[in-house]
Structure formats: C-alpha cells, structure tokens
C-alpha cells in the first residue's frame, strides 16, 4: 500500500537530491554529457559578485520580513485570542493573502507600486509627498519587495500563534491581574515567555520559506534593477533555465541548502540550551 508513495518519493525527491549533489561537481550544459570539474562551480560561486549580491539580498529579505511579520502576527493573535465579535472575520482577513497565489498578489502590488498610475504614489501626492518609481529604484526596490513579503507573511504566523495561545494557562493572567499587572505588562511577562517554543518554531519555518522567495521577485522586479532584488533562488533559476548551466545551478542550490541547514541547526541549538 505504501509502495506507490515510496516509488514516487524515490524518483522525484531522493534521486533528485542526490543528483543535485553529484551534478554540482560537474559542468553540465544539457546537450553535452556532464564533465567532472571538482569544486570548479563552488570556486566560481565564491568569486561571483552577482551571487554574492543575491545571497546578501536573500539574507536582508529574510531578516526583515520574518521578524516584522512575526511581531505583527503575535500582536494580532493576542488581540484575537478572546471572545470578540467579528473574530472569524478578522482572522479570515489576515489569512487571505496566505491562500491566494503569490503571482496574482504580486500583480496587484505591481499596480499599487506603479510610478505613473499607482495608488501608492496617488496617496502620497495627496499629502504632498513626491512619489517614486518604487520597484525601479535600486535604493527602494528591495524594501518594496520586503513590504509585500511582510504583508503576505502575517497570516500563517498569526494562525500558529493563535493555536499556541490555546495552551497558555488562563490562571496566570488572573494571578497577574490580581497583582495589578497591566495588560501590556502581562503581554511581556506572561504571553511572550509562554509563546517561546511557538516563536522558535515559527522562526525556523518562516526563515526556510523566506529564503526560497521566488514568485514575488519574478513578477515584481525580475531581480532588477541592476540585481538589486535578485535572490539565491533567482540565480539558481537563471543558471539552469536561462544559461542552461545545470551543474552551476545545482552547486548554487547546494549553497542555498547549506544556509538553510546551518540556520536550522543554530536555531535548534538555541532552543535546546534554552530548555535546559
């Protein structure tokens, strides 16, 4: 009964992962057989200014979108974690960007950021602030992408926090209230510490997600202007499907994987030492 699933996973996951590792040591351009070049691709990656830029952008994107959307998500979750009229409606609103396609969402933001006709510049001009070409300006493009990433990322994190809040003991709040602790103080003294395991979990999952941002960049900026928003995933895509350098693309994806592995392990270490 499990055989079809095992066969499927073997062909489409296990073999590809191993192949990625092996091919990363080759020069392979699809129409000629792979040629073993040892660490050639990795050496090239190390000196590749564009890939460095992509790595930096990925790190910046991740470490801005993840904490910001987590911060908003935890506040929203706490506010929603009580008997409240319209509670389901609010929750649905925050979750909506999570269930809709990133490509479609990016199209809408493309219009919002449009320098000539977009509503963002429209609103700014109403307040007398000059608009700008958000996605075409090298200084602003990455931040504009990050804003969309934060906006889209809140929903899922909020949901996980909401689930975690179910396990926080109500008595703690009652005791704190009797001691005269304000709601804000209760939030920092009880809620946040109790949510620590959930926070670590959300952090890891979100980082893994954010590191693989692709659709958003593909539609919004195509990696530009002047590589200002290119990401590691985007470089893998370019190497493999625009330059047809499959070996190089594999090596780049191994580097991406190494980053994720490193971050996950560091995080697990931190969680462990925290529990002791």
């Amino acid at each position: 009964m499990v055989a079809p699933a095992v066969a499927h996973a073997a062909i489409w996951i296990a073999v590809p992962v191993l192949a990625t590792l092996v091919l990363s040591f080759t020069d392979y351009r699809v129409f000629a057989a792979p040629r073993w070049i040892g660490f050639g691709n990795y050496v090239e990656i190390w000196h590749d200014q564009v890939f460095r830029k992509a790595t930096w952008n990925t790190v910046v994107y991740t470490f801005f979108t993840v904490p910001f959307s987590m911060g908003i998500a935890v506040v929203v979750a706490v506010l929603l974690n009580q008997k409240l009229r319209l509670r389901t409606a609010y929750r649905a609103a925050f979750f909506l960007p999570q269930v809709t396609a990133t490509v479609a969402i990016a199209m809408v933001w493309l219009r919002i950021y449009n320098p000539q006709f977009g509503p963002l510049n429209g609103v700014l001009s109403f307040f007398g602030v000059p608009g700008r070409a958000w996605l075409a300006d090298p200084d602003w493009a990455l931040w504009s992408v990050i804003v969309v990433g934060v906006w889209q990322g809140i929903g899922l994190k909020m949901l996980i926090y909401l689930a975690a809040l179910q396990n926080v003991d109500e008595n703690l709040y009652e005791a704190a209230a009797i001691d005269g602790a304000s709601p804000v103080r209760q939030f920092f003294a009880i809620t946040l510490p109790m949510l620590k395991p959930a926070t670590f979990f959300v952090f890891v999952v979100s980082i893994i997600g954010a590191f693989q941002v692709f659709d958003l960049v593909y539609v919004l900026t195509d990696g530009g202007p002047a590589n200002a928003t290119t990401m590691m995933t985007y470089e893998v895509y370019r190497s493999a499907f625009q330059d047809f350098r499959m070996g190089m693309a594999c090596a780049q994806s191994v580097v991406l994987f190494a980053f994720l592995l490193f971050l996950t392990i560091v995080n697990r270490r931190l969680t462990r030492s925290d529990e002791k």
């Binding site: 009964m1 499990v2 699933a5 095992v6 499927h8 996973a9 062909i11 489409w12 996951i13 296990a14 073999v15 590809p16 992962v17 192949a19 990625t20 506010l79 929603l80 409240l84 009229r85 319209l86 609010y90 649905a92 609103a93 925050f94 909506l96 269930v99 809709t100 396609a101 990133t102 490509v103 479609a104 969402i105 199209m107 809408v108 219009r111 000539q116 006709f117 509503p119 510049n121 429209g122 001009s125 906006w151 949901l159 996980i160 001691d179 304000s182 959300v202 999952v205 893994i208 693989q212 593909y218 539609v219 590691m232 895509y237 493999a240 499907f241 499959m246 693309a249 994806s253 994987f257």
Partner: protein, 306 residues
C-alpha cells in the same frame, strides 16, 4: 512607572460605571486596531477588483480613482480574447483536481500503512518521509526538470532519453511529479494514528483485508481530515508557479499563474486585462477559503504545529 512598581499601594476601587466605561473604551480601541489591520490586508484585493472593471482611459489618469467612474465588465471578455485565460483557467482546474485526487488516494494509502500495518522497516520508512519533507524545493528542482526532459520513450525520446523532449509540454509533467507530497502522507499518518486500535483488530478477526479496512472502516472516520488535505492540496496546486513555468512553453498547457505572468511580460500596459486575469486567478481560492474556512484553518494549524 506605576506598572513596574510592586502593587502594594491599593488603588482606589473604581466605581462600576467607571469600570464599564473603561471596558467599553478598550473594546472600541481593540476593534479599531483590528479593523485597521484587516482593511490593510483586504484593500489590495478590493483594489484588484475595482481596477479590473475600470476603462483603460480611467486607469491612465493620475491621481488614480478608487471607485470606478463606470463599471466596464467587458474587460473580462476582452481579457479572454487578448489571452487564452479560459484555457489557463481550465488547465489549472484540471491539474489542481488531478493533484488532489492522486494525493487523496496514494497519500491516504501510504499514511494508513505507516500508521496501522506493522511491517519491517516501517519506522525507517517513516523517518525517510520526514527527511524528504524537509528538502527545500530548490534542492531538487534541477534534476526533476532533467528527469522530465530525458524521460525514456516519451515525447520522441529513445530508451535512453535522447532525441526528443520527454515529458516537457505534456500533462504528465504537470500532474505526476507534484502529484504526491510527503507532507500529505505525514498528515494522513497522524490522522490514522489518532483512531482507536480495537477497530482494526475486530475487522481483522472478521477476516477483512487491509484494503477493505482502509476503505470501509478507517477512512470514513477521518472525513474532516480528508477534506483538510484535499483543500490544502488543491490550494497549493492552484497557486503553484515555478514548476509549471519550467515544464510548459505552449499556451494550451499553461496554468493560470504562468499565463498571467506571461501576459504581464508581453502586454505590460494592458492593466484592465491584467487585473481581470488576476481576479480570475484569485477568486476561486478566495471563495474556497471563505466557504471552507474551518478546514483551511485546521489544516494550516496542523501543518504549522506538526
């Protein structure tokens, strides 16, 4: 600050009326805050809808209008003529449905076996699936593409995968590789594990085979779970972009997300058509989500907590 000082000093007890007024104020503030957030989340979607029914002339004015001067519903039929959005839509529907059916059948079979049938190496196999669950898309996508490209004996390829284009630009490429995820198997296993053991023991004593126990006894008991996995799979498949982008180059096989991106690159000034297409790509998921919110929330929470 009074909040940080130990609360030894007794505060004057507020009168009942004061307390009620305070509570009311807090409530109002809470709702204002949440409403502001909710509006921020929804406004882009409203904007998309309103933009999709504005005339090109109105869309080329600055500052932009919020409410359309006139509602140009013909933008939708216009979009369908400008690009085969109807075909894209149909393709997305076929593939999302196909993925869902494949996942439900093989995912539940595998999940059942991993949860309920003791066999040698079961734990190891399960660990294997967990490991594969952690593999990021980009660590496998290049070889996946190569396997599709060099699929033997298809698309003009010989036994060694040479000479043709393999599964590229075929339904196979769209349906099979993404058809089953370790994640669905994992979820199914957890659901089957949560059921009592006595059922299967009774069934086995009655001489029922595993297939019948799976089909007639256990699976009917996890119907909500089946709905959850189905919705998550459908949503994931409908929204998927990268894989269909890689394996299709012909309009007849393009899914709506890819069709949308291609249309945007070719006609990047036809905003009225683009937003109509975007609405088509978005509305099915929004409706599905609003109709089955409970299952979505459950699914994503389970997916999140593991």
């Amino acid at each position: 600050m009074t909040a940080t000082a130990p609360a030894i000093r007794a505060r004057p007890a507020p009168t009942a009326a004061q307390a009620r007024r305070r509570r009311l104020l807090v409530r109002v503030g809470l709702h204002l805050l949440l409403a502001l957030g909710a509006v921020t989340m929804i406004v882009p979607f409203v904007w998309m809808l309103l933009t999709s029914v504005k005339s090109p002339a109105e869309l080329a004015s600055f500052p932009p209008t919020f409410w359309p001067d006139e509602w140009v519903w013909s933008n939708y039929s216009g979009a369908m003529q400008a690009a085969p959005f109807a075909t894209y839509f149909r393709n997305s529907l076929i593939i999302a449905t196909g993925h869902t059916l494949i996942t439900l059948l093989f995912g539940s079979l595998a999940g059942y076996a991993l949860a309920r049938i003791p066999f040698r190496g079961r734990e190891l196999l399960f660990l294997g699936f967990i490991a594969m669950l952690m593999i990021p898309t980009y660590t496998k996508i290049v070889p996946q593409f190569l396997i599709v490209r060099f699929m033997p004996l298809s698309g003009g390829n010989d036994l060694f995968g040479q000479g043709g284009s393999g599964w590229l630009n075929t339904w196979w490429a769209l349906l099979i590789p993404g058809g089953l995820s370790p994640f669905a198997i994992f979820l199914f296993r957890q659901f089957y594990l949560s059921l009592p053991r006595e059922l299967e023991e009774a069934a086995r004593i009655d001489g029922l085979g595993e297939l019948r126990i799976w089909a007639q006894i256990y699976t009917p008991l996890i119907k909500p779970a089946v709905a959850t996995v189905a919705l998550l799979t459908f949503q994931e498949s409908w929204n998927n972009f990268l894989w269909p982008l890689l394996v299709t180059t012909r309009d007849e096989l393009r899914v709506i997300q890819v069709g949308l991106a291609v249309f945007q690159q070719q006609e990047n000034t036809a905003w009225h058509h683009l937003m109509a297409g975007t609405t088509l790509a978005t509305v099915p998921m929004v409706l599905l989500f609003l109709l089955a919110q409970r299952y979505f929330i459950q699914g994503f929470t389970q997916a999140g907590i593991k």
